[in-house]
């Protein structure tokens, strides 16, 4: 049983790690989901016990299954699912902005934007201060504001 479980965890974690290394951001999200589920399996296997359900009143002398790992796994599932939702929303934002979920396309689009900005720059401006705020005080690092 332990061998099967560890093999399953290894395979799930490995596939997740493989997917994280892909260029397609959607696959990266799926990879994260797989890896967090490998962690959930690991938690369950960390307290693998057989016994009566841990509900009061407890039977005298009977072995009681460990309830703590179930509680931890539940919490971890809630966290990983909500984080997956957040990641998907970030991917969607990128898709809306760049019409692609491929990291290379996204980076290329950003480089093009930056170059376009540099061409539009006022030649009198110091290039190192290109990020000066125009819209509001306290903005550094907002290239698009200077468009």
């Amino acid at each position: 049983m332990i061998l099967i479980l560890s093999a399953v965890i290894a395979v799930v974690f490995g596939s997740g790690a493989f997917l994280i290394l892909q260029r397609d951001l959607f696959r990266v999200v799926v990879g994260i989901v797989l890896i967090s589920n490998a962690a959930n399996l690991f938690i369950i296997s960390a307290g693998l016990t057989r016994g009566e359900p841990p509900i009061y009143p407890l039977l005298e002398g009977a072995t009681i299954a460990d309830p703590l790992v179930q509680a931890m796994a539940l919490t971890a599932i809630v966290i990983s699912s909500s984080v997956a939702a957040l990641l998907l929303s970030l991917v969607y934002r990128l898709y809306v902005a760049h019409d692609s979920v491929d990291i290379e396309d996204v980076s290329a689009a950003e480089v093009r934007e930056a170059e376009a900005l540099e061409r539009d720059e006022d030649p009198g401006r110091d290039p190192e201060r290109e990020e000066e705020p125009r819209g509001s005080p306290g903005d550094v690092g907002l290239r698009e504001d200077t468009r």
Binding site: M72, P133, S136, P137, D139
Partner: protein
């Protein structure tokens, strides 16, 4: 009384975060309410710090469960030191943003969630609870990193989230493994039982913990995500990320390394020292070669993390005290530098210079106290190479911060450059004054560091 304060310190940011997530954060009133909520939380943490320093650790079990069953909240000197500085930095950053005008309805709520998660994390005595709080603050931070919703910020936020989630999963696996080998989630009990576990399994767990926190802290081989995130983010967000959130890494290494698994940390001393040294040199060299202010500061963060790691590697009361003092001072420096670099107007250059001197470690600013503690630890450890390394790191940091200073504040004023409104400038100056004051009157800082080191070396905190 003490346990009420402890519960309040965790609960107030929570309640205000939950309430604020329903409100429109762009309205100034909502912004100020969030400042008030966070201020109350900060006051509780501050009160707790005084109590802990005077009477020793405060402990309470959540939900009225008997001890050993319920989740423990435990405030000792190490936890409150990190909590005070982190919540303080978040508070200042939030005030900065509210004064400048919040541009997203979720900003105050997200900041409050980061604060709530961090307070909980520093004040919990339970390993799994630590993970939950850590995820809460990280998740809020992923959303914060994409605050302005520009394309590259969203990409930076995505990278930040994926890398850190990987770190969280590794940490979660380590927590589950600790539970498996010790049968408990309470940090004190784990620390007690870890000595009886087979060394082979506990070493791999300790490695997983180390990797997870090094990712958070942005140490040398795990740093690759860090510059992209900081360059993309807005000054207060960058201040929160590097001044408050990065503390998770330092605190985690101290708590799980020095407190829970001290034998394993000792076993890995060589690795810790080498990685720390590599971080110092790599971060400083990269920072010297960069031109954009935010990028320089981002690489500087990698170098500063290296100092904390070296101090942890040296260990012992002096080393741990140096690590805590350096982490606290570093948070203040980073917050000041990021905020000052995002502000324009008279006297801001002076504020930046205070931060720059503090990074270098020139008296009388707070950084001097941190550097002095580092030197003391390295001399005590007897390593000439270590002392030289710290000195070289300091010299390089002098080069890069003053390069930034020269480029940003010594160029003639641009046409169309807007001077920041007086309240924002006053805030940045206040922060600079605080860094200066901490250097002029270093006793509280030193007392905090020494008390925290006593906790880690096994004595009463």
């Amino acid at each position: 009384m003490e346990s009420t304060l402890l519960a309040l310190a965790v609960l107030i940011p929570w309640a205000s975060a939950a309430a604020l997530s329903l409100a429109d954060g762009r309205r100034p009133l909502v912004g100020w309410i969030s400042v008030a909520g966070l201020g109350a939380g900060f006051a509780c943490v501050l009160g707790l710090t005084f109590l802990v320093l005077r009477n020793g650790p405060v402990e309470t079990v959540a939900g009225g469960w008997p001890e050993g069953v319920g989740i423990t909240l435990r405030a000792d000197a190490l936890g409150v030191a990190f909590a005070v500085v982190s919540v303080g930095v978040i508070l200042v950053s939030l005030v900065y943003e509210v004064l400048g005008g919040v541009r997203s309805r979720t900003f105050p709520a997200l900041v409050a969630f980061v604060a709530a998660g961090l307070t909980g994390l520093f004040l919990t005595g339970d390993a799994f609870n630590f993970y939950v709080f850590f995820e809460i603050s990280m998740t809020a931070a992923y959303a914060l990193a994409g605050y302005r919703e520009k394309g590259y910020q969203v990409r930076a936020a995505f990278i930040f989230a994926v890398i850190n989630l990987l770190g969280s999963v590794i940490f979660l696996i380590a927590v589950a493994a600790l539970y498996h080998v010790t049968g408990s989630l309470d940090m004190e009990v784990i620390a007690e039982r870890a000595g009886r576990v087979r060394p082979g399994s506990i070493i791999s767990i300790a490695t997983a913990v180390f990797v997870a926190f090094s990712l958070k802290l942005g140490l040398f081989p795990f740093h690759f995500w860090l510059p992209a995130v900081y360059v993309g983010s807005h000054p207060p967000v960058a201040a929160i990320l590097s001044g408050a959130l990065a503390n998770i890494g330092g605190y985690g290494l101290l708590r799980f390394g020095a407190d829970v698994l001290p034998r394993e940390l000792e076993f890995g001393t060589a690795v810790v020292l080498v990685l720390g040294g590599a971080s110092i040199v790599y971060g400083a060299l990269q920072a010297v070669s960069r031109h954009e202010t935010v990028e320089v500061l981002a690489y500087s963060a990698i170098g500063q993390a290296g100092y904390i790691l070296v101090a942890i590697g040296i260990g012992g009361p002096v080393g741990y005290a140096a690590a805590v003092i350096y982490a606290v001072v570093n948070s203040m420096n980073k917050a000041l530098l990021f905020l000052a670099a995002g502000t324009r107007g008279p006297l801001i250059g002076a504020a930046f210079a205070v931060g720059a001197f503090s990074v270098v470690g020139v008296p009388p600013v707070a950084g001097f106290v941190g550097k002095l503690a580092m030197f003391r630890a390295s001399v005590e450890a007897g390593g000439v190479a270590l002392t030289a390394l710290i000195f070289v790191g300091g010299a390089l940091s002098f080069v890069y911060v003053f390069q930034v200073y020269q480029r940003v504040f010594w160029t003639p004023e641009q046409k169309g450059e807007k001077v920041s409104p007086p309240p924002i400038r006053a805030l940045v100056l206040l922060l600079a004054g605080l860094v200066l004051a901490a250097g002029l009157w270093p006793e509280p800082l030193l007392a905090l560091g020494e008390a925290a080191a006593r906790v880690l070396s096994g004595g009463p905190g």
